[in-house]
């Protein structure tokens, strides 16, 4: 599975919605319930799924899902 597909599964899990489809341009506005509270749950779930760790700065600078995928890939490579 690609990073995007795995991330999509995490999104569906956290936001409890099996119809979520993410793309590089997806932002918090496109996904029902993606607010600052659920963002934290999302980050923790992503950390578990990919076995990586983020800092506060890294995750608050994200603009869209494309950024997020890039950050995850960088982290995995850097492991």
């Amino acid at each position: 599975m690609s990073t995007q597909e795995r991330l999509q599964e995490v999104f569906r899990d956290v936001f409890d919605d099996e119809e979520i489809i993410i793309g590089n341009e997806t932002t918090a506005d496109d996904i029902e319930g993606w607010d600052s509270l659920s963002h934290v749950a999302l980050i923790v779930a992503v950390q578990d799924e990919f076995d990586i760790k983020f800092s506060i700065v890294e995750t608050s600078a994200l603009k869209n899902v494309g950024d997020f995928i890039k950050l995850i890939d960088n982290k995995i490579e850097g492991k």
């Binding site: 600052s36 509270l37 934290v40 749950a41 923790v44 578990d48 506060i56």
Partner: protein
Amino acid sequence: MIELSTKSLFFACMIIMAPFLLRYRSRIRQEVFLVMNILVITVASRSVLQWIITALWVVLPFVLMHFLGDRENLKPVMITGMVIVYIYLAKYGFVFSLLHLPELFLFKILGLSYFLFREIDYIMQYSSLKEEGYSLNLTDYLNYVLNFYTLMAGPILRYREFVDDFYRYGDEAGYIPITKKEMFDHINRVINGYVKVYVISAILDSWAKYWFDGLRDHSGFIKAAAAFCIFAFLNCWYIYFNFSGYCDIVIGAAGLSGMKIHENFNKPYLSRNVVEFWNRHHITLSEWIRDYIFTPFYKWLLSVPFKKKIILSQSVALFVTFLVAGIWHGTTIDYVMYGFFQGLGIVVASLWKTKRKKWLGKEKNKKYENNMAVITVTRIITWGYICLTFTFTGYPVMSLFINR
């Protein structure tokens, strides 16, 4: 927040003078600002001892980070130590009587808790700031922590945000550009702020006090409850006009000096639930507690005790965060109640949202949220709840129930 005194006159003089000194883009703009900040702190100190304690409280974190900042395990120790010193300096009465602590200083340091917020931000961000190539020098640090505009009660800036903004125009000589319209907008905002604080909120405050003092004279529950509601109504508008007026003065005045300060209010009394309210009232505090209390605690809950139980972890983290934030607001039992009710309101609002989405489904939930009648009713309920819970700030409401 602001009282009419020689100090507030001095503050008014500073905000008039500052633009003339700080709009000039010179190499020493940061030093000029530093001198002004130290001058304000000096005027605000009542004694030499107070000045020295303030200086230590501000400078020590910088010195420790400068020499030991690369040791990641130092941060929790430092922050714990700072919180303990803070509890002592802020004079939490029940802690003093519980532990029989001697009171060495009788004064309260102006802006103490806001210093703490900024210092913790600096400590937490230290490594990533260093990585990103920020200059972590004493002048910038002191300007950030002591910034006289935000000294009394925020808004709470972040180090990164402050430095980015301060050096936004580079160091070529000349004036920082400002259009006539911007200038008049800023001046207008400062004057509006002064009217809000010294006229509107002052009147509301005296009325609220009048109704609160009269509460014990009412015989009968209904009369007393009605009087309490009138008091709560006046008090919540007093808080809004006083605090948002203060922020208008600060943001407008700093704007005249070419500094941009984060907005702190966004029509909070139009919120439809308590979660939304805290995203629109004292925004910079909400964001700070989100980043430095809620997020780490929530992450820890999710990964250790409540593995993957999102809703439970979120509710516990929210409740504890707001309880702590409430206790931070003041040193009496009333603030514990204040934090308790804010936490309760937030947890109920977030649970209700999640449950409702499950019951109604996506489409119906959207319809529900956009229904004009629902919007109006939820706004009134939220505002009423905030009105009642805000009575705990500034008034000994608990004493009404205890010593009857």
